[in-house]
Amino acid sequence: MSARELGTYAVNTWCKGCGNFAILGAVKAVLQALGEEKGGIENVVLVSGIGCHAKIVDYLNVNSFYAIHGRVAPVAEGIKLANPNLTVIGFAGDGDSYGEGLEHLVFAAKRNVDITMVIHNNRVYGLTTGQYTPTSPLGFKGKSTPRGTKEPPLNPLELMLASGASFIARGYSNRMDLLKQTIREAVAHRGFALVDVLQVCVTFYNLYMEYNKRAYQLENHDPSDYEGAHRKMREWDYNSSAPIALGTLYRCERPVFEGSVRAEKMTPPARAARIGALLKER
């Protein structure tokens, strides 16, 4: 499947230079590779929330569920539990998943449902024209906080580690090859995987210079070492000007939460007979 066949007729409305283009490009490459490996991508379902990020499903000719703000994780979980043969990739914004729908992310990680969450973390609300998000730095001046925020950001990676996520990574929209590789690993991981992508919003919060200076690719890092992963996650708290590690920070194997619906549905006569048997006991 060519990159062209993966696209749709929808007109792309992201701003020029938006970090979302990099995520779209990386996802196309991952889907192409998946398609070549499996002979098709009909098993893939994409889920998105609401925000600039969410338009990604309109731009991909792939099964998709364009959901609502904050609710990507439960939709993705429902789809995966209903049919374990599907590969489910959720796309969500930072406001979308670290703000409004945070509880769902925590529980999806706790359950270890086998889905991938790609977080388009631009640290600002773009589509609603520039307010602070859960990962904006302390003192961020947005339209709803003209004198600067009075709350520090949360560190989503640390939160995911504490919640039980079995794959945690960070990407950057200006490091394309690494981003592709990271998303591919996340999708291949059996269990709940989260990739926090530092995705730059050129219009409301342009952090290219900042990230270019401080982002580095992890080397000689053992993602199976919980303590080491934790240290790397704490290195930058989304507030300071510390170095920012990119790549797979943490990975472990643990049992996944699965639906138990068998492939063949019980036939109507069998169901009716069961209902009859159940009533006999009453």
Binding site: E77, G78, A82, H104, S260, V261, E281, R282
Partner: protein, 550 residues
């Protein structure tokens, strides 16, 4: 006796619901038709709990105020309910826990002598009741053997001691008619959903719908379904929509407060055209209200829930058979029309126990969904005459299945084009028109009582039982409308032919059905409203009706 009522009461933790159920099964075994209500406060230990069991020759769905037997585990029960006894000597009580006149049995002493668990006081009390009512030991033993899964022998021993300390005062014998199983309204609803092909039930616990979650969780393996209890009602709704997108029939259950959280997903179901069946068990609000009591206050809430305009199916079953039948229909309709359905229950029906006659409930089977024929390019929202677009589910190598919460084109790609916006809005609403025709096929409005009477009681939900009986006694027509959206206007007008006076009977403070009737051109004369969280008893309703009719 062709009818009797038994009240058994004690503290929370005394096992009153189970004791009530056992008593109900004893009477059901003799061919009686049962209605049992369980009254309990929102606490785990202490307080006052009671089960009111009514047994009659004919199908019933209400309680009487007067009782023929009062079984008391504590003083509270004696004090609160002894005035209800027809004959003060039909009081059987634990003489170790209460002082009263009647038949005192030292339950605590007996339990101690037998080194039995405290809960077995109930068995001893039921044994004493059975003897007093003239029910044979063999009947009691049969019911115990069938219904007591644990520590049967000790329970039988306790029952025997109660039986022997008691003496026959009545002659409650077999009615010689078929023995019917007992189910709660929630269980009947669950069976209906299962009958219509339920694949997954997803819920967060909330009275009075929790017992549906428990029932289906127990039945999950036998029926090969998923039962999931996620982090919140918001997750419940969205997870269920995920199941439905993947082609699995999902239902969710809650009460008004939980449904508040579900409404954004409910609207998503309307826009994205994803089928979902929602069970809403009503209890008094606003807010936490009276969590363990009954109400009919969410009619307009569920009719209008969710932003935007989209068709929905709302049905409020009136008894166990209707809960079974209409839950299945609701599931089928949501798949046939790709819309949300609401099965609107109330605590009385959710947790009330009924004799259940599956043969009279109506045929239940999975049907309905229009599937894509695989020809040409798949378009999830292709515009059709009925507004219904054929379904495909991933994985399907021939189809890309895209659903969208935004306004979208036929392929499911977001659009803001005004012409497309009109087309898609009209497509969705057209499904509602066809649904309106579809429900004419079913008995969307039931007529009972004296069909020639010029005065009619109009009711919904669990008030069916009490209204039908009062109507029969007082010579009134009774109209019960299970289907509330789309409103069966013409069927209702047919049912109202010849009626000059309408009295609405509802468990709310503002007359929600009356308001709905007015919207459809029906003038309601009187409203009999009860909103203290308790259902109407038969005597109470008859008294009020007599007052109104005077």
């Amino acid at each position: 006796m062709n009818e009797l009522s038994v009240l058994i009461g004690g503290q929370a933790g005394d096992g009153i619901n189970q004791a009530g159920l056992l008593t109900a099964r004893l009477l059901a075994q003799l061919g009686y038709r049962i209605f049992m209500e369980y009254d309990y406060p929102s606490l785990i230990r202490g307080g006052h709990n009671y089960s009111m069991i009514r047994a009659a020759e004919k199908k019933i769905g209400s309680s009487r105020e007067r009782v023929d037997f009062l079984l008391a585990l504590n003083q509270d029960t004696v004090e609160k309910h002894k005035v209800k006894l027809r004959d003060p000597s039909r009081l059987i009580y634990d003489s170790d826990s209460a002082r009263a006149e009647g038949l005192g049995i030292p339950l605590k002493t007996i339990v101690k002598e037998e080194s039995a668990p405290e809960l077995t006081r109930n068995s001893c009390l039921i044994g004493a009741f059975a003897r007093c009512a003239g029910i044979g030991w063999d009947v009691l033993e049969g019911v115990f053997r069938k219904d007591i899964p644990r520590e049967l022998e000790v329970n039988l021993k306790l029952a025997r001691r109660g039986f022997e300390l008691s003496a026959p005062r009545e002659k409650v014998g077999s009615l010689g008619q078929e023995v019917l199983p007992l189910v709660t309204g929630n269980e009947a609803c669950g069976l209906g959903l299962l009958g219509a092909g339920l694949d997954a039930y997803i819920a967060y616990p909330m009275t009075p719908s929790s017992s549906l979650l428990h029932f289906l969780a127990q039945a999950a393996d036998d029926f090969n379904i998923n039962v999931i209890h996620p982090e919140s009602e918001i997750a419940v709704m969205l997870m269920a929509l995920g199941y439905a997108y993947a082609g699995r029939r999902a239902a969710v259950g809650t009460s008004g407060g939980g449904f508040c959280l579900m409404t954004e997903g409910f609207s998503l179901s309307g826009m994205a055209e994803i089928p979902i069946a929602v069970v809403v068990g009503q209890r008094p609000g606003p807010s936490t209200g009276l969590p363990t009591y009954t109400a009919q206050t969410e009619l307009h809430f569920v009719m209008n829930a969710g932003q935007g305009e989209f068709p929905r199916f709302v049905v409020a079953p009136g008894d166990a058979e209707e809960a079974y039948f209409w839950s299945a229909i609701a599931m089928n309709i949501s798949w046939k029309f790709q819309i949300p359905s609401v099965i609107l229950m109330d605590k009385t029906i959710c947790e009330g126990t009924y004799s259940f006659d599956i043969a009279s409930a109506g045929e239940v089977a999975e049907d309905g969904a229009a599937l894509w024929d695989g020809r040409g390019q798949y378009r999830r929202y292709v515009n059709t005459d009925t507004g219904v677009s054929p379904l495909a589910f991933p994985p399907d190598a021939r189809a890309v299945v895209k659903v969208d919460s935004y306004e979208h084109d036929e392929n499911g790609i977001t659009t803001e084009d005004p012409k497309l916006a009109n087309m898609m809005q009209e497509k969705r609403l057209r499904k509602g028109n066809h649904l309106g025709e579809e429900i004419q096929r079913y008995g969307a409005v039931g007529v009972y009582g004296d069909s020639g009477a010029s005065a009619a009681l109009v009711c919904w939900g669990s008030n069916k039982g009490v209204c039908v009986e009062a109507g029969e006694h007082l010579g009134l027509k009774v109209i019960h409308a299970p289907v509330l959206a789309p409103f069966p206007t013409s069927r209702l007008h047919e049912a109202l032919a010849g009626v000059k006076r309408i009295i609405c009977v509802e468990n709310n403070a503002t007359g929600q059905l009356a308001r709905l009737l007015r919207l459809h051109g029906v003038d309601v004369g009187d409203k009999l409203l009860k909103y203290d969280g308790r259902p109407f008893s038969l005597e109470e309703l008859e008294g009020k009706l007599t007052g109104v009719m005077r």
